[in-house]
């Protein structure tokens, strides 16, 4: 298989530090060597490539911005973004695993957890010995998480959870679930361990998208957890929204990876596919498709890099994350569809990655804040008028 050489029309690489380039190249090679050879098989079978977890952990891909004392790489946010980009060039499901583990499990435990919770969970999550999941969305509460039904009740023995969560990546695999529930009407985060009585996490089936990723329900029926499993620094919806912001940041980068994979495939296919005696890349309509793809990838790269620089400086606002997530996933999906068109009928085969990326991006466009909600978040920011509250 030919090694991926990257897509970089504007020499964005010159804006990266030496370490950032090295991080990107490491993950790029990892994806060429370990993800691409096996991913179509898993996508077909609807299974997550669990073997990758240990390998990703050894390279330091989980919680990679967190402190070294927990076994993490302590990288900056641009390097983290580049990891997400390269993983998603492999598959959105693989990137989702790393996103959830890092941004939705390790980040909240680090940010809102007690010292004991951090010491107990972070090293194992970094080394891949433990897997985590994040339970916020419910069957009836998606874009409006504040309406959640899941409740926690304090008892002398601990907290009793009742309710159900849905669309939970890694749910069935997880050793620990970061679960959001209302305690006396206020949202708090709780750590629920696999095997706790009254807690089950059945896998959801029948997905046409993110097939190489485990998606689950989390069900709590009089599930009693110890008092020390509440995350002490959570108090209201702001905490889970901060987690989502971390994840969205990674998704904005990840979408570039999918888009690059599709563009790279389309460009190479168009150069070798002969119709009317010449490569289809010589036709104006094909050229236009390729040019639009490359232009959108270049814009997305610049958007993410500046977003990451702001995040590292501490000046990034969540509305700016919404803009990058909203834009980059939407253009990646358009690029995947256009790539499928360039590949003609061949585009629907899993000999090529474009249909898989296209199907995956349908989920990515909706999860971690739908495209529409991000529109309204930015809309509220610039007009001062909230359209959804």
């Amino acid at each position: 298989m030919l090694k991926f050489k990257g897509v970089d029309y504007y020499d964005v690489e010159s804006l990266l530090s030496e370490e950032e380039v090295l991080v990107r190249n490491t993950v790029r090679e990892f994806v060429d060597d370990h993800v691409l050879p096996i991913i179509e098989k898993h996508n077909r079978a609807g299974t997550f490539p669990l073997d990758l977890v240990k390998k990703m952990a050894e390279l330091g891909m989980f919680g990679s911005t967190l402190p070294a004392k927990y076994g993490c790489a302590e990288m900056n946010n641009v390097a983290y973004g580049l990891v997400m980009q390269e993983l998603e060039r492999g598959d959105s499901g693989v990137r989702s695993f790393a996103s959830v583990q890092s941004a939705l499990v390790m980040y909240p435990i680090f940010t809102f957890g007690s010292e004991e919770q951090k010491d107990r969970w972070l090293p194992g999550l970094a080394s891949g010995e433990k897997i985590g999941c994040f339970g916020l969305t419910e069957p009836d509460y998606g874009s409006n998480p504040g309406g959640m039904i899941t409740r926690a009740v304090e008892t002398p023995d601990g907290y009793v959870l009742n309710g159900a969560k849905m669309w939970i990546t890694n749910g069935t695999l997880a050793d620990v679930a970061v679960v959001w529930a209302k305690l006396n009407g206020v949202v708090h985060g709780f750590l629920v361990e696999k095997g706790t009585k009254g807690f089950s996490a059945p896998e959801m089936t029948g997905k046409h998208s993110l097939r190489a990723s485990v998606t689950s329900e989390l069900i709590f029926q009089d599930c009693l957890i110890p008092k020390e499993n509440i995350m002490p620094k959570t108090d209201g919806l702001k905490a889970p929204l901060m987690c989502l912001n971390q994840a969205r940041y990674g998704i904005a980068w990840g979408a570039i990876g999918s888009a690059m994979a599709c563009y790279d495939t389309a460009l190479s296919y168009a150069g070798s596919r002969i119709q009317f005696g010449k490569p289809i890349s010589s036709f104006q309509i094909t050229q236009e498709k390729l040019v639009v793809m490359l232009t959108e990838i270049t814009k997305a790269q610049l958007l993410c890099l500046q977003l990451g620089r702001m995040k590292d400086k501490g000046t990034m606002r969540f509305q700016q994350v919404s803009m990058a997530k909203r834009n980059n996933v939407a253009v990646a999906l358009e690029i995947a569809r256009a790539a499928r068109e360039v590949l003609g009928a061949n585009g629907i085969l899993d000999e090529y990655p474009v249909m898989r990326h296209s199907a995956n991006l349908e989920s990515v466009k909706t999860y971690e804040g739908t495209h529409e909600m991000h529109t309204l978040i930015i809309g509220e920011d610039i007009t001062g008028i909230g359209a959804f509250v």
């Binding site: 090295l22 991080v23 490491t26 090679e29 390279l59 790489a73 990891v83």
Partner: protein, 248 residues
């Protein structure tokens, strides 16, 4: 055990190299550089020896400041120290080998590892020359390395097969593809490499016996010809191979 991996900073294999204005060197504009691929096997072999024997691993590179980038990659892969033998001059293999040996002599390494060649100017004789200058045994083009106590057994790639050789430390070994699977620099390793210093020393001058007069690219390959796509094209193909290409 003191293990030194000698590594080089070379143009990326994907780079389209252009001849520079002086006609003797390449035009550096737009050229990406990388750790010489054969040297990755040398670094990996060094890290493995350290895992087996303990001690320290040192990456050494002779060249300009730009070579630090490649030294940092070796640090990220896990070597303990990096040493830049700073040199901006143009050298032939002999001069290069003398300058490297000069540094190694002071370091007294137990094992010196090289890639079997550098993919820029090849310089395949450098490891052997260095061994000679140090008075160490030399094993070139190794595809297997097994060390036990003070003894080293290597498989060397030779024409049409393998040759098994035995020697002892201290030794100079040059690595061929297949010797091992070089590890990725881990993200933790990359971040840790940032804080590890790169020691610098000035390279000693040694005269070159060979002077480069000019470099040129091979002539561009001419376009291929499709004679046909089925069996009916065979007679014409045979005729062309005989009469035009004159190869059969």
């Amino acid at each position: 055990m003191k293990i030194v991996a000698c590594i080089n900073h070379v143009p990326d294999t994907e780079t389209k190299v252009k001849v520079g204005a002086d006609g003797k060197t390449i035009d550096p504009a737009g050229v990406n550089y990388m750790l010489n691929p054969y040297d990755e096997y040398a670094v990996e072999a060094g890290l493995k020896l350290k895992e087996q024997y303990g001690g320290e691993t040192i990456a050494l590179s002779l060249g300009p400041d730009a070579n630090k980038e490649t030294l940092r990659k070796a640090l990220a892969m896990g070597v303990d120290k990096a040493l830049l033998i700073k040199d901006d001059s143009v050298r032939d293999s002999l001069s290069l080998a003398r300058a490297i040996a000069e540094e190694l002599r002071e370091m007294k390494p137990d094992c010196v590892l090289f890639g079997k060649q550098s993919i820029d100017y090849y310089d395949e004789q450098v490891p052997g020359l260095v061994a000679e200058f140090l008075g160490y045994p030399s094993v070139s083009v190794a595809v297997k390395l097994e060390a036990k106590d003070g003894n080293v057994t290597c498989d060397r790639e030779i024409e049409g097969g393998h040759e098994v050789v035995e020697t002892s430390f201290p030794v100079v070994i040059s690595a061929q593809k297949g010797l091992n699977a070089p590890r990725y620099p881990s993200l933790k390793g990359i971040m840790a490499a940032k804080t590890k210093p790169i020691e610098e020393r000035q390279a000693k001058p040694f005269p070159s016996g060979v002077e480069v007069l000019g470099i040129s690219k091979p002539p561009a390959k001419s376009a291929g010809k499709i004679v046909g796509t089925d069996a009916s094209a065979v007679p014409e193909l045979v005729r062309l191979l005989q009469e035009e290409a004159k190869v059969i």
